[in-house]
Subunit: 399 residues, 2 copies
């Protein structure tokens, strides 16, 4: 069990004579996607020993396993470090929350956060790294405002609710087209890239790399048909969960509150040549050039959140970087694993019992129901093992 | 000394045979402003005993006095409380930074923060209280986008750099007019309200309640000439420093990072009837109706910052509320006290020596130079006393 993850643990027991007890709605994707070649239906054999879930040693007393989709669990070591320097940061005589954002201490914090992130994702000097506010939702407007004129066309591949929201917001500032939508199939699919009918003049092609509500993740990425077009990805919920070839993208954006920090920080990685052409109606705070020219310090940034992101980046580097992280998690197919019970009337009981066992936030998004386990970087293996043991135990009692 | 503050301490020693050593640029304002009836020139007598500044008992070892203009010093008791529950908040089993923003724990935090702020400022149910992101600078765009059509005129009284920035941003979304500017007098004045040439059709009248760079603060407020017009104030840097009659305003906004919390949270108090008429080009994150309808939880808010603001509000209520605060500080004329030395070549030495004595962030804003002491709510009296003693000592050595 020691090196396995939630998915591999579950896939091991895929065949069962009693049919499916736990179900996952994701069906096998088109062939050109590098999803594992197996059905992702989440199942459990019924003939398992009843195993009482216990709190593993690695988890501090009173901490519970938090499967929330975001804000989400943070590494314990990062929280302990933050706790130790909350009142006074190093020899500064004050908390990070009290520092002038233009003082040398905070400047050292934001510069280290940026350079550590550049190391983690191997971001070249052709790109700006910006620490902004307002969540991915603010970027839904900022992107077309910065990259398009009102009559420019852009393409959206919509694989879930977040991509759909990004498309709707773009209608205010350019001419977006949904060239593929998974809505009719309840957002359970990734399209075949060959079949995408891209506009050859589209200014950019937008995807949401991982949809948190439906649990659908791109494993590789389409290429814009327009040779001057750029690929843009909302990576909020799988940012820094694995290496990514930044050079394939014109712009990557991510709310921090899944894998890399608390809510209130949005990271934008943008190719430098794309900055500086914002529409006249662009609010100054949504203009990438303003933030790039001022190294994210045009106005007071969310200092404490940036500091926390910096601690997470440092922690990831200390663990060997994202390749190390992703090797360990090679069989972890998804950041978010929605699942349901064959007997849906048992779902409330499942969530209630799990909560008593210190596993929380397993309820599915209100728009789809069922259950959802979010297993971002900071979720320890012990949490996944405990959930699997609990699922087996629950099945043996109710199956 | 026990009940005095920086200004009263300084005003005591106003007359000096050796002329002014320390200077403050603020001149007496027009008569209808309730500024103290004295010159605010900051001076020190030269015939004072040399007093070695020592760290007062109330200040924990290693903590220094932080006169930054924002982010700024926070109450020690609030930082200690935050430290004690950073790793695990109460019986939640997790940090506030990890909580789902829609879970009952965080909802209880944001609801208590809002109700405590309503108590502090006596905000009626006619107003929404919104916890947003992006700083006051984002509101510079959001306000005209929400309250104006493109051809509506609005009036600005510009008493410093922030009011000027707000005006410039508004030019993108409506027809703003500067009806008074203190620029030619280096932003050292507040105008006579009677002399303001307001547009009778102006949709609103905008002021910046306290200008942090130049240290100019409104002590009472003008009334819009248009009977349907509304008064709008950027109160970022004196928010919750004293009681304010919210009912006189249509909209009050404030970045939290001066008196009430860390950076990354912006508080908007808006009369309910003003919500719901945003221009079509308004980004969804700048639309007050979206945030009002969703109780500031449309997308993931800056949860940890809101939690910190809640701790500060609770602390202010425990101290007896804002009337108690402002009685204690009745002679504290300004949140930000810029001052210069007669011998400007000594200013670098002054800042360096003060820093060695654990008093930091005394350098003036880069746009005006000199020095600046920001004395927000959380600055203890001991810090002010220490600064005064140091100023006297410095003068005796260099005067």
């Amino acid at each position: 069990m020691a090196t396995a993850s939630l998915h591999s643990l579950l896939l091991k027991t895929q065949t069962t004579t009693n049919g499916y007890f736990f179900k996952n709605p994701i069906t096998p994707p088109s062939q050109n996607i590098s999803f594992p070649n197996k059905s992702l239906s989440i199942t459990c054999a019924t003939q398992v020993q009843t195993q009482s879930p216990t709190t593993p040693k690695s988890q501090s007393q009173d901490r519970i396993f938090n499967f929330a989709a975001g804000p989400a669990t943070l590494p314990e070591s990062v929280l302990k470090k933050a706790e130790s320097e909350l009142y006074i940061w190093r020899d500064s005589g004050m908390s990070v929350m009290e520092m002038s954002h233009r003082g040398k201490d905070f400047v050292s914090i934001i510069e280290k956060a940026e350079s550590d992130l550049r190391l983690l994702l191997n971001i070249s000097s052709d790109y700006h790294v910006l620490f902004l506010q307002g969540g991915a939702t603010t970027q839904f407007a900022a992107i077309p405002l910065n990259l398009c004129k009102p009559n420019d066309s852009v393409d959206f591949v919509v694989t879930g609710s977040w991509g759909d929201k990004a498309f709707k917001e773009a209608t205010k500032y350019c001419k977006p087209n949904v060239i593929w939508s998974g809505k009719s199939e309840k957002y359970t699919k990734i399209p075949s890239f060959e079949a995408l009918e891209q506009d050859p003049n589209a200014k950019y092609l937008h995807i949401c790399g991982n949809e948190t509500i439906h649990g659908v993740e791109f494993k590789n990425y389409p290429v814009p048909l327009n040779k001057d077009g750029i690929l843009i990805a909302d990576m909020s919920s799988h940012f820094c969960s694995k290496p990514v070839d930044v050079s394939k993208f014109g712009l990557i954006y991510a709310g921090a509150q899944k894998n890399v920090g608390p809510s209130g920080v949005t990271i934008v990685i943008i190719r430098k040549d794309l900055v500086g052409n914002a529409q006249e109606i662009t609010p100054v705070m949504l203009d990438y050039k303003i933030h790039a020219d001022n190294k994210s310090l045009y106005n007071t940034p969310p200092c404490y959140g940036i500091y926390m992101c910096g601690l997470v980046f440092e922690d990831l580097l200390n663990q060997g970087g994202l390749e190390q992280m992703s090797v360990e998690k090679s069989v972890r197919s998804l950041m978010n694993v929605p699942f349901t019970l064959e007997k849906s009337e048992l779902e409330a009981e499942f969530i209630k019992e799990a909560s008593k066992e210190k596993m929380v936030q397993l309820k599915g998004h209100r728009s789809v129901g069922g259950m959802r386990a979010s297993i971002y970087n900071a979720m320890p293996l012990a949490g996944v093992e405990k959930l699997v043991a609990f699922m087996k135990d629950f099945q043996s009692r109710h199956g």
